[in-house]
Symmetry: D2
Subunit: 344 residues, 4 copies
């Protein structure tokens, strides 16, 4: 059993990590921290998790990190980098769920988030999209867990760009997310009466997940790729759908793209091309580490329409983090992640 610690465990990604790791056959949660709940039992923060006998502690002193051998950091960006540096200094491994290490180039980070607090560590981090970078993840000491929107976008697009089946120019990514993506903090936007029976875009033309997406599509292309990306807030708790419009290369059809996906993701347990004529629905992957994708030809419009669904808190955050943990520790990738979606 690996002793794992969750730093910043009182948020939604923290709760989801606790849910998954508490049932993981090779992990034991020995440490959860939260500045707000120090000294309090887990159930005061999450009564739903009352069967687990855990108490929040503090992580302001480095000795806190002696309490575990592997760490998940789920802190706001910048705060995360500082803690990650301290954990790495102890010689321990980390999956960081913040945005802090998603760019190897501190300049790219700076463009999106401002000056990086630990630029020296950026290059040490491996981007934790296991379906694409599994080999690097296996040997990593620091894995940057991908953003939810990038996960839902890169997974379907990477193989198609790599295989030259679609044009890398003019890609439109229209993404929709449940409200849990905004975190547990109480805000006007996340008030039930504001989010319920409501639908809107946000951070139009300015969301910081766009450069993260572009960075990896550029790797697939071998040249700079730019996308138009728009996130939307949907009145539901969990789930993310990216509807993607792209120009197919001449003669390329749905069957070609599905074949490319099946080949690229052969043996990868968490990516699935939707069977038959099924249209991916976020409900199909609720609470799981799965990504379901589909594509339809739209010749009249000179486009293909790609759809990709994940659970933003699971494959978009915490279960993906556990998938990375599994790889980093040499476990089977599916350990602790095999459950089916809560239906309905």
């Amino acid at each position: 059993m690996v002793k794992v610690g969750i730093i910043g465990a009182s948020g939604y990604t923290g709760a989801e990590l606790i849910r998954i790791l508490s049932a993981h056959p090779k992990a034991e949660i020995t440490l959860i921290t939260s500045r707000q709940y120090v000294g309090k039992p887990l159930w005061e923060c999450y009564p739903a998790l009352s069967p687990l006998n855990l108490v929040f502690s503090d992580h302001s002193d480095d000795s806190a990190f002696d309490g575990a051998d592997f760490f998940f950091t789920a802190l706001p960006h910048e705060a995360s980098a500082e803690v990650v540096a301290r954990i790495l200094a102890k010689g321990k491994k980390v999956v960081d769920l913040s945005a802090d290490f998603r760019f190897n180039d501190p300049e790219e980070y700076k463009a999106a988030y401002g000056p990086h607090p630990h630029p020296d560590l950026c290059r040490k981090a491996v981007y934790g999209l296991a379906e694409i970078y599994a080999d690097q993840i296996r040997g990593a000491i620091l894995v940057a867990n991908p953003g939810c929107y990038p996960t839902s976008s890169i997974l379907p697009l990477y193989p198609l760009i790599k295989a030259g089946l679609i044009e890398a120019e003019g890609i439109i990514i229209d993404s929709k997310s449940g409200v849990s993506g905004a975190g547990r903090g109480a805000t006007q936007t996340t008030h039930y009466c504001e989010a319920n029976e409501s639908l809107k875009a946000y951070k139009v033309a300015s969301h910081r997940h766009a450069p993260e997406i572009e960075s990896h599509l550029s790797k697939a292309k071998g040249a700079s790729v730019k996308v138009a990306f728009t996130p939307h807030l949907i009145p539901m708790t969990r789930g993310m759908l990216s509807t993607i419009y792209a120009v197919p290369k001449a003669g390329v059809k749905r069957a070609d793209m599905e074949k490319a996906w099946r080949e690229f993701y052969k043996g990868r347990p968490f990516v699935e091309v939707a069977p038959g004529e099924v249209i991916p629905d976020t409900a199909f992957v609720r609470g799981t580490n799965r990504c379901m994708m589909a594509v339809r030809d739209y010749p009249a419009a000179g486009r293909v329409v790609i759809m990709s669904v994940i659970d933003n808190l699971a494959k978009g955050a915490s279960t993906q983090a556990v998938q990375n943990f599994n790889l980093m520790m040499g476990f089977d990738e599916t350990t602790g992640l095999a459950g089916q979606a809560l239906t309905p």
Copy 2:
């Protein structure tokens, strides 16, 4: 007071017509019909409308149409055309909420819906998008009420194409609708537990509102326009958002587009450019005849992002039908339609 009849009043657009017309100062509902509820009081179908003392009758005999002077037909397509023909034969005016008369050219209709049951009547119909075709509507005896998706799409795009501010090629319309758009019939798709906490596209690359949209954008352009249109089902009852991606003409910016909208819709009471930095939210127009639109530059992607919200049952159906009624009867366009959105 104009005596109005609602044919097919037991569906959601029927209920919304009843809500609006029962409070309309120049209309009196004298007839509501429904095959399913013949002889039953309105409250058996809609207990919410119990204060209204109305009883469903039948419309299988033409004498039924003597009971009113103006008609709203809210029947399934094909069924509607047949009834409309019978009402027109009585010399009475109709706003038809079905798809049956949305194409003046029976061949266009046929391509989307199959052979038209009354091709002779197609050319008599006026497309009831009052912000664009008010003059024709005023003189019409038969108005085809627009589809909800076309309303939300044509309103923002028409002036921009007409003014040559955006390219007419490569337009992507990613639309999202509340569940009421699927009608009141009980289906697997509209089951609460299937639609709640669920998000998906449907009728991808094949929805019949696409040619309706293209038909009017082509008029704006003076040449054939094709779009990529994808509808989505959102877990909420009412509301529709279209997120539209277009290529701006060289040098065109948000301010130019907003100016074009303000000029085109000058004096039009129901179209509004979102004030300040407000992002249109479907909740802002709930239960009203309003359309709120906004646009943002996205130079890095070579696009602009246009957002447009309506209430699919109101401006997307029943209040728009009443707006057409007002114009056809020579009333002020806002009569009975001035209420604010239910908030929250």
Copy 3:
């Protein structure tokens, strides 16, 4: 046109007052205040209300009250009493939506809320449940708008107790409210992801609406009445249902109780006994000033089950306040309040 001012207009009851009063044929909103939004246009607070050309002002100086002739105060309790005193000192009338004047006896208030800031004013206030106290309301200068739970509970129970049809002992009121009852403030409880797919009681055995209910049932009985009252939070924005269990007097049946309601509420436009076998649903009264009630015999349990639905923000707050305004100004009670429920 009466010039009306809304003090504390940025909350949900303020927004609902604005929606109703902006369409009221005999009222003109000339003043809205909010400490948080002073100097800002209404749309910055409520974009949904952007068609209204209103700007928030301050009410810290008494001269603010010169801007209107009739006032609605929608402030937190205690804060409200202080402002009401200042308005009354100007010789103007007020409907107060806070809890501050719901008890004529300052001692009763104290037991529930603590020491009253203006005990001298308590006896001047009339309890604004128009279906019971219309005569007093007509002559009042200060009306205390009832709480939402008391409105939904007193309306069905008062006539039955008064007529001696049910025992006044052992009444159980199990009430359920939409989230808007918690106000617009951002809290953990009202976070979308906490309230959605969630159901729970709150303030069990301790909610301050219980004494308010008891106070008026005691008047009906002519002796002290105690009830068991439990509020619940329901994952929906608007609506309130009270399910009430009582012991019928010997031989009393549903028909007797329905008859008592019909007689007591004869000519009262906003109370309705559910027709036929209809079970009251909060959706039936959404956005209206209506209360729908029903009762069923439960002889096996020696009880009757009474159900009563209102919209907590409308009849439970803002439309009821306008009803009181109408009575205080000598207008027809239904002025501005005749619209049907938004359906669906």
Copy 4:
């Protein structure tokens, strides 16, 4: 590995059984049947369960039952009894999720549901509320899985009545259920737009779960107990809350009742008294086999208020069925049921 068959697997309780059993370490699903989906893969019915390689078969021929050694029947009542009889005739064990065997006395069944199709089998069945009847369940060949409302009501009430802490007369059970309790069939009631933003009671004074509740409370009391039971429909997918009002015996307080619960349920892994001042919320037990309960004194009303939450599809149906399977097979009761609630 026990080969298990699920008869009537296309409904919601079927899907939940598949979710749980597919991850159960000692069970292998070898048979799923559905008249509607015969020959079709599971994913055509539930795309969410596409990782499972299962195909629906028929159960009209008895040879079908050779395909498994243990059965879960999830059919409508009456249909279930007939199938159960055929399975038992094969010498195999069954947990029946219908209402058909919840009464040992066919006359009691008849009073609620009509004549029993297999009265001879009624007395063979054991009521599958494992926290109370574990010993009988262990030796049973036919277990009748309890109804969801009875589960949520009997669990908190049984120990209190048995210990003589509350009066058995005058108990009021006000229950609230998510929409999934109504099943997967498409009906007007379960239409998203009818159930969303809606709240109402149903089957008032006439629900067939009342006699089931009374039957077991009578066993606790050793004398006939009658309750007043009212179910409500809540706009959420999963979850059930019963708010229960009872008269405490003289001097009995919250602490006494909590103590009685803790003693009665000592060593029972799925019943929990809410810690500290936590109020049970259905979200706390989502997707789990847990029941969380709490009680508050209400001396002013001469009552106590008991709250009890379960997931209607899990502890109220399918996970409880698996708990019974575990006991019948001699497995640890928690096998396959230890996961935490999906949060949020």
